[in-house]
């Protein structure tokens, strides 16, 4: 049986998230905005999901705009670069 064509569903393509960790100062606002995709390890080391599914779009966008040092960039296949 052929594999279902994942590319056919537009929302299954992941977002691309990139955090400039030189800039990040662990204010952790992203962790409140999108707790499933951003966490602080130890005292201040940010860990994030670089390829969240499109369903998380609203959370990721809230995280992006809440960053006090604007360290989060997102490429969204539906909405372009944010």
């Amino acid at each position: 049986m052929p594999e279902p064509d994942r590319q056919a569903a537009p929302d299954s393509r992941p977002l691309r998230v990139l955090v400039d960790l030189n800039r990040c100062q662990a204010y952790a606002q992203c962790c409140y905005a999108a707790p499933a995709h951003f966490t602080i390890e130890g005292r201040e080391a940010l860990f994030y999901d670089p390829a969240p599914l499109a369903e998380a779009r609203a959370d990721i966008e809230r995280a992006r705009i809440s960053c006090p040092v604007q360290a989060i960039r997102v490429e969204d296949p539906e909405r372009g670069v944010l």
Partner: protein, 422 residues
Amino acid sequence: MVAERAVVVGAGLAGLRGAEALRRAGFTGSLTLVGAEAHRPYDRPPLSKHVLTGAVAADATTLPSFLPLEAEWRLGTAVTGLDRRNGRVRLADGSSLAFDRLLIATGTRARAWPNPHEGRLAGVHSIRSREDATALRTALAAGPRRVLVIGGGFIGCEMASACRTLGIPVTLVEPSTAPLARVLGTHMGDVIGALHTARGVEMRCGTEVEWLEDDGRGRVVRAHLSGGDRIEADLVVVALGAVRNTEWLAGSGLSADAGGLDCDADGYALDTEGRVDARVAAAGDVARFPHPLYDGRRVALEHWSHAVAQAEHAGRLLADRKACSHYAAVPTFWSTQHGINIKSVGLTEGADGLVIAQGSPKEGRFLAVYGREGRCIAALSVDCARWLPAYAAQVAARAPFPPIHGAIDQPEHRPVLPPGFS
């Protein structure tokens, strides 16, 4: 007017950001990106951290693009030569590409274990590419009895950290007296080494791995150290730093060797006579350039932020040749080890003094500043990131050392310590 052709050689972080900068600066000609690896540009820092622990899939690290490139991609195709006279780069598939503007961003590769037979044994790994990280992740998930990490640089330390996160016994062997000693000096190296020891990494400093023994069936079983000791390890990670990918420039007339491709202060490539080739710029790990903040000392930096900043500079340079200025970004990097956030600004080389400017190493949370001849040259933050921008400004200004007096959270006494560079 004939349409201009730009070629970017190297499809990593620097190649991608350089190509974007070309377009952003208004370059409207044809654009081709050539990459030896089969993948679109991806982010390497997670490969030695969360990809190893399984928290991030290796193929989730594809880098976002920040504008439509309208480029042709030649992936899985290594570059093999540069013919400047005819303005062409030669590719491994026998074809060639003509260029009017060329960005060289071929980066580095992992330095191989010096004995090729031992280096090919099953269970011996290195870590540079997505495939390397995937293979290592599979090997770690199989539950090795003990991992041996050869080399106590940042990659080696991150590797040891990943092993402890997974609960795997790990030994790290480093020839100098402390991990990270080459970059941070032995004083700070000892501090970081103690953090590793406290988290269960067996640190073997001041010794070297002489040879790797196999089980007679081609799989590594133990390592023999220079003092005669043996380490039983069924997984070995060679973390001996990187080698710059410049061999393909042999015969091009450009000034390049294992230490990088020489550039002038603007970022243009130099030929062996020291003349600028204004069609060619370089960026990222492969570019060796005079850094104005360090009296024009020629450096080639393997930092993520530098790859971005220098590539953006080089892209602008190639798009608009008159709009250039010297590249002078202050070097920065970060590493996470055992959940500890280690960040740095500036270059420590030549430091003759070190002060703990904020916090305390005893508490595992501090900021140290390196000085040279009475000026601040670098700062190191360990779980103290919010203080770093203030000290980064002192480094960028070459401020008097020690810097910033009377701030809150400073130690009462700030003696100048020997940083421990040999």
